[in-house]
Every structure is written in C-alpha cells, then in structure tokens.
Amino acid sequence: MLKNITLGQYFPGDTVIHRLDPRIKILVALLFLVAVFVVRTMWGFLALTVLFAVIIALAKLGPVTILRSIRPLLFIIIFTFILNILFYSGQTVYWQWGFLTISKEGIEKAVFIAIRLVLLIVATSLLTLTTSPMQLTDGLESLLSPLKKIKFPVHEMSMMMSIAMRFIPTLIEETDRIMKAQTARGAEFDSGNLLKKAKNMIPLLVPLFVGAFKRADELALAMESRCYHGDEGRTRMKVLRLKRMDVWALVLMIAASVLFMVFL
C-alpha cells in the first residue's frame, strides 16, 4: 500500500512554470545556482528571494511546499550556521572561550552561508517540484546529446534513469512484502547492534536482489520483444520543442541573473 508515494518531489500542476520546456528549467536552475554563489550583498539575496517568490507564486506551489523541501536539510543548515559562528575568527569579538569565538564577521558569514544554502535548496526545488522525473530525464538527454559525438552513452543513461524511476515503486512494494513475510517467520529488522542489524537484513536483501535480477531479466526480454535495439533508428513521440514562452523565460532570467551578479 505504499503505492501512492510520489516520485522525487514532483508537485503536479498546469501552470506557466510547469509548462516550460524542461531544458530551459534545467538551464535556469543552473544559472540560479551560479547567481546564488556570485551575489555578495544582502540586496542581492533580497533580489533573488523576490525573484524566487514570484516564480513560486506563478507555479502555485505555496510556502508550505517550499518549506517542506527545506526541512530534510534543516539540520545541515543549522549545523553549518553554528560552526561558522563559533569557529570564524573575526575582528570585532563579542565573546570568546578557548578557541570558540563569536564575532561580528562570524555572525555575518554564518547568516550569509545559511541564506545561500536555503536559496540553493529553493532553486533546485523549483526545478524538481515543477518538472516530472520523466521530463527531467528527457531534458537532460536533450541537453547532453552533443556528448553523443564523443561516444558518451547519453541515450542509454537516460533509459536507465527512466527504468529506475519506473521500478522504484515496484521495489518498495516488494520490500514491504518480503519484510512482512520474514517478520511472520520471526525475523527482526530493528533490534541489536549495527553488526547484528546488518546480519538481520540478509533475509530481506537476498530475496530482494534475487527478485530484482529476475525482473531485470524479464524486462530485458520484454523490451527486446518490443524491438528495442538501442537509440539507432528510434523515433520519439514527445520531441522537446522550444516555444516562444520558453525563449522569453530564458532571456528574462539570464538578464535578471546577470544584473544581480554584476551589480549586487
């Protein structure tokens, strides 16, 4: 019954942002990441925050969804924040104890890095929340396709990614089933020390791997029987085509980011 888990953190919708070409979104997300690192002033961060807020609003995501995507990394943010405060030795010292110092510069640095981390997460979440894993794979395959010239297996990689995504829910269900079956035979998965725990996983892992190999075998047969023979001579139903909106979005975002990076 774990069927309903969403893959990645895609938040289905039909907004301007959702409809943008995945390639544009990947490029813009990369651009944002660079901007977050290059911008040096509070004004710059403010400008980026406003820009992201506008995109969030356009994508109808709501602040809760965004906050939820930050949550798993909250610990790291707080951890680096505290480390920076305590270990950065600045000029204006407020408090000192052994090698631990709290200084004006330290606090500033800590705040800057915390803001940067949050903005980084938001920028990537904007991409993954509004783009389905399938679109992401297609976008990546298309962006990386020039690498085919140097014999880089772009198509094979994206095929592997999409098959992996297809089988994640299936394998989660299978894990659940095997765990229950072994639990009914008296297996325990959460007791004992680390070594014992690892040993306890064998009744789960062996069947899971045996099952996965069988699936892989059957899937390969099924794909062969449907005439799959790699990228050669293959057509695609969905071909990514840039629309006017995509070009506008890209130009606008490049302009904004460059502006922020140069002046703020």
Binding site: S132, S162, I163, R215, E218, L219, R226
Partner: protein, 278 residues
C-alpha cells in the same frame, strides 16, 4: 491454406552452466497456426509451452527443426526485427514488461523502436489504448493501476506496433478474477474484431475453451490437438498431460458413467445447461 506460424519438429535445450547433459525443453514440436486463428496452447508448468512461445518472437532460436513466422524463417538473423514487429508478445507479469512511468509513453515505446515517424506515433497510441478500453489513462502512472489494467496497457504497447500475431504467455496467471475477465475480453476483441492471430499460452481450461483450436503440450512435445471439444473429450490424454477438463466436461463424463448420455460434450457451463435443457 496460409500458415502464419509453421513449426516443424523444433528442439530446444536451455544452456546449462556445467558440462551437464542439456535437457531438452522442446523435443520436437510441430504446430501450425492459420491466419486469423485463435489457438490456445495448454500444458502444466514445465511442459515447454512458454519456451515454445518465446520461439515465435525469436527470443529463443530452435536448435533443430524449422520455424517460419509470417513466412519468414526464424533461423535467418536478417529476419529478426521484421518477425518481432509482426509477432508481438505479452508476458505473464504485468509489472516486468512496462518500461515507462507514464502510460502513453509506454505504449509508444514499441512503435518508437520501429522508427515510426513522429507525427504518426500519437495516433497509434490513441488507437491502441482505445482497442484495449484504456482511453483516458494516457497520463497515469502504471504502478497506480490494477493488475488487469497494467496487462491491458502491455497489450496496447504490443498493439501499437501493428502486429499480425499476438502471443500471450500466461497473461492472466497473476491476475484476480476481474483482471482475468478484462484481459480475456480484450483478447476476444483483438481476435474477432481486429482480426489478429492469437496464440494463448495458458493452463486455465475455461480460457482455452474459447479458442478455435487447442494444442496440448507435455514434456516438450504436442500430445494432442483439435477443437476445444475434441481435446477436452480426450480425458485420458489430458490427465496424462497433468490437466483436467473444465467442470462442464467433467459433469458430462460423470453423468455418462451413471448412464445419462447427453447429446454432445459441453466445454462451457452454458453449453452444459443448453444440453441438459434440450
């Protein structure tokens, strides 16, 4: 008479790891299927029926004997992709034959591999989904569907390649009664309305009862063939093959033993009732 599948004494042994004497999974199968026919291949687990099915699609190649599919020799490497595009195959486990996280992309997978021009792909997908009664499910994720629905998506994926023959390798073995009914309904439609040649590998007698002709396989050879009525009435032969006739036929024989002889041997409940109420 035009045979779309013509197997002559084919033999096959799975490769073994050691130098052990390989055991023949097929020990000389001879079997012919006419264009537009609906045939069922019955047999117990391990009878070689699934091994035979994989030969039609050239997933396996006969080591002895000949097999032609739509007039093409399966032994000739050059015919491989042509044969596979003419003879589609649906497997037992619906989970292990869907490749995409989106239904429509999965259905498009086969025709994409064939290099069907892009502008025709959408049409093929729509048409195939309609044929299996799954229109409206284009954007859904396969793992959210029921077993019967998944299996119909797999059928649509084969159908979109426009094959003449569809081989079903125990397509209902992992489904609940509702899913089984859905898949059988689809198979019936594909044969009667869409004119596809159907080869159904199964061990469900009620499913075989719907076929035009039935082959019984046991121990790597065809031990019996004929209409369902003929085959089901050969009670001993069926039992030798580890099978049991459907209930209607069993009742017919039990009645006969007790001295009540009905007109003709029924293979479905409806036929039995018709015969009794005559």
């Amino acid at each position: 008479m035009e045979y779309v599948i013509d197997a002559q004494k084919i033999k096959y042994a799975y490769p073994t790891l050691e130098d052990a004497e390989p055991e023949l999974a097929l020990r000389g199968v001879t079997l012919q299927v006419e264009k537009g026919e609906f045939v069922a291949v019955l047999g117990h687990n391990g009878s070689g029926k699934s091994t035979f099915a994989k030969h039609i699609n050239v997933l396996l190649r006969a080591q002895e004997g000949t097999l032609t599919v739509v007039g093409l020799d399966t032994a000739d490497e050059a015919n491989l992709w042509t044969i596979r595009s003419h003879a589609g195959m649906v497997f037992q486990n619906p989970d292990n034959q869907l490749v995409s996280t989106v239904v429509e992309e999965d259905v498009a997978f086969g025709p994409e591999n064939l290099g069907v021009p892009q502008e025709q792909l959408r049409g093929r997908v729509t048409e195939a989904l309609r044929a299996v009664g799954m229109e409206g499910f284009e954007k859904r994720a396969p793992h959210m569907l029921s077993g019967g629905q998944k299996q119909r998506i797999a059928i649509a994926g084969v159908l979109a390649m426009h094959p003449d023959i569809i081989v079903f390798d125990e397509p209902t073995a992992m489904l609940d009664p509702k899913g089984r009914a859905e898949v059988m309904e689809t198979i019936r439609y594909l044969n009667k309305e869409a004119g596809k040649t159907i080869v159904l590998i199964t061990h469900y007698m009620e499913e075989a009862a719907e076929a035009d002709r039935v082959f019984v396989m046991s121990d790597g050879v065809v031990t019996d063939e004929g209409t369902p009525r003929e085959v089901f009435s050969h009670k001993e032969k069926l039992e030798e093959a580890g099978l049991m006739p459907p209930l209607a036929t069993q009742v017919y024989y039990d009645l006969k033993e007790k001295g009540l002889v009905l007109g003709k041997c029924p293979v479905t409940l409806k036929e039995l009732v018709d015969e009794l109420c005559r």
